[in-house]
């Protein structure tokens, strides 16, 4: 089947390694999100998969077949571009059927397939329209339908939803995921939006500086970050320097006993403690701090606490809002099982 194998894939632009020695095995039918800050190399990696860039080193295998040297037009992949890249001089149906007409398929077949694909993305009867007559969400669907026209071996999407407003984007995330599950096509999506990745993906690949930082299911990456970068990038994390000892850690001299459910990935000595805001609790005693700001977001309440030169965020449900005022001295504790000790 079309499982995807990246073997030491690298791409250099001059002295800069945009993609640095990436090796991955992706099972057939997965929905993969490439996640990372801008400039981390995720778009370059996607373009390497598509054949739009030639790798400086490494190989790319699709279902055991080496496609490293295969040019983009011969790979039989589908791709949705960030700008969507819909052809303004063609109608909606002509856009969707472009991959078929370019392969010399008969007109009737192109028409029928275009109708079928437009129905798949809920755009029945829109085939005769021009691209500029469509709304942003409709254009998005046309681009997706076009990418799927030839039943691609691999479906690639580069920040496909970034141009949509927040509501529509969330809606399209669900729709895209449902569509992919129905068709079972192996899909790789580039995004810088971690919520988007957590909503859609089977596998999240977190990248930074051209390197893969962590690969895994979304909840695993969220709960169990492999290093401080992933902890900081996925969701909001409080990162505090600490000393790891036997069954306990010390944060600025304050000892905290570890629970068996806590995850320890560092060796004894200097380390980094990562705690999600929902695992931070304000108590009578504990790590000392001073409330600097309370932000009521309606669905939740954020309390910012200064601890030395670090700011720690605690997150509460609206009903559980603590009785604190700005400037108040408080103590902090971290919920057992919510503490991750990472290499410094």
């Amino acid at each position: 089947m079309t499982d995807l194998s990246l073997q030491g894939l690298s791409k250099r632009f001059g002295d800069v390694a945009a993609v640095d020695d990436v090796s991955l095995e992706i099972p057939d039918g997965s929905f993969v999100c490439l996640l990372g800050p801008s400039g981390c190399g995720k778009t370059t990696l996607l373009r390497l998969l598509a054949g739009l860039e030639t790798p400086s080193a490494g190989r790319l295998l699709v279902a055991g077949e080496d496609v490293t040297e295969t040019p983009a037009h011969a790979r039989r992949f589908g791709m949705v571009f960030q700008s969507l890249a819909l052809f303004p001089h063609l109608t909606v149906a002509e856009n969707v059927a472009y991959p078929l007409s370019i392969r010399g398929r008969p007109k009737a077949e192109c028409r029928a397939r275009a109708e079928e694909l437009l129905a798949l993305v809920q755009l029945e009867g829109m085939g005769g329209r021009r691209i500029h007559q469509l709304s942003g969400g409709q254009r998005q669907r046309v681009a997706i339908a076009r990418g799927l026209a030839i039943a691609p071996r691999l479906f690639l999407l580069d920040e496909p939803l970034s141009a949509l407003d927040a509501n529509l984007r969330e809606h399209m995330q669900v729709e895209l995921r449902q569509l992919q599950q129905r068709l079972g096509v192996t899909t790789v999506v580039v995004t810088h939006d971690q919520k988007e990745a957590l909503t859609m993906a089977d596998i999240v690949i977190v990248m930074d500086q051209g390197r893969v930082q962590q690969v895994g299911p979304p909840m695993e990456v969220y709960r169990d970050p492999a290093n401080a970068f992933v902890a900081g990038f996925i969701g909001t994390s409080n990162l505090l320097p600490c000393e790891l000892g036997e069954g306990e850690i010390a944060v600025s001299g304050h000892r905290i006993a570890l629970d068996p459910a806590d995850r320890v990935k560092a060796r004894p000595g200097a380390a980094m403690l990562s705690v999600r805001p929902e695992d931070v609790r304000i108590a009578e005693d504990g790590l000392p701090g001073r409330v600097s700001f309370v932000r009521d977001l309606g669905e939740s309440v954020q309390v910012m606490i200064d601890h030395g030169d670090r700011e720690i965020t605690a997150l509460y449900a609206p009903g559980a809002r603590p009785e604190v005022a700005v400037g108040q001295e408080v103590g902090l504790s971290f919920a057992p099982g919510g503490r991750v000790v990472l290499p410094a």
Binding site: G51, L52, E53, T54, P71, A72
Partner: protein, 284 residues
């Protein structure tokens, strides 16, 4: 950014325009350079050789006067055109798109007109029987209609008519890219519209203004017909003499030498314009 396989055209296709322009544009210049140092055969064409006799003729007072005439006419036209075109362009760039399009159509139409047609039209406008002479006589400003051509005034009018649309179109991109908020900011800080124009708009566009002046200068240096139609023989420019030598005096080497000189002057000035443009890009 994109890989070699993504180029829309194969690399060898560039050989076509490259070879075409090399043969039909660069080779003629090379031949012209060769002719300029060839030996003139009086009454005939020329025979190959290397002598600087044609260039030596530059050193005569006769030639110096021609060069001076050309430069003075072009410099005058450049100054007048830029002075008229700059406020025009500033106003134009603030108009709505429809109005801008209409004015641009008019400018392009005038710009595309042959020197011949401009010369003919202006000589008609300035003539005794069909021109402003009639109009002035009718107004009672003058007793009887008269012709205003050929004259220095007619020639300068022609040069400005020819070059004004060009000056506007050269100034148009930088002026239209100028952020209107800069002027508005100056207004809010208390500058009068005129003061904002002189203290913000003009200094910011100093380089494009110089560039436009130089380009108009080069453009009018090439004028060939207007001096003959609207001017007197004393106003004949280098271009007129180049053609005269080439066609009527059959002195190709001297014509070529004058053309080479004109080429050097033009290239130097165009180079200066590019340099000014680079300074501006560097400062921005």
């Amino acid at each position: 950014m994109s890989a070699p396989s993504e180029k829309p055209t194969p690399g060898w296709l560039a050989a076509l325009p490259a070879a075409w322009l090399a043969v039909f544009f660069l080779v003629p210049f090379a031949i012209m350079l060769g002719v300029s140092v060839a030996h003139r055969v009086p009454g005939g064409f020329y025979e190959p050789g290397f002598e600087l006799a044609s260039y030596a003729r530059f050193l005569t007072p006769f030639f110096g006067k021609i060069l001076l005439t050309s430069v003075a006419l072009s410099a005058g036209a450049a100054a007048i055109c830029v002075a008229l075109a700059f406020p025009f362009t500033v106003i134009l760039a603030r108009m709505g798109r429809r109005a801008q399009t209409l004015v641009l159509v008019a400018l392009l139409a005038v710009l595309s007109l042959s020197e011949v047609i401009i010369g003919f039209s202006l000589s008609t406008l300035l003539s005794k029987t069909a021109g402003i002479g009639n109009f002035f006589a009718w107004l009672g400003l003058i007793a009887e209609s008269r012709a205003y051509t050929p004259s220095f005034f007619a020639l300068m009018t022609g040069l400005c008519y020819l070059a004004l649309p060009y000056a506007v179109l050269v100034l148009y991109p930088p002026v239209s890219r100028l952020d209107p908020e800069l002027g508005e900011a100056a207004r809010i800080m208390g500058a009068s519209p005129m003061r904002a124009f002189w203290t913000v708009t003009v200094p910011m566009l100093r380089a494009p203004l110089m560039g436009a002046g130089i380009l108009v200068f080069v453009f009018t240096l090439g004028v060939y017909l207007l001096p003959q139609v609207l001017g007197q023989p004393a106003h004949w420019t280098l271009s007129v003499h180049i053609t005269d030598q080439a066609i009527f005096q059959s002195n190709l080497p001297f014509a070529a030498a004058m053309a080479v000189l004109l080429l050097i002057v033009s290239l130097a000035l165009v180079g200066l314009t590019l340099l000014l443009g680079r300074d501006r890009a560097g400062a921005a």
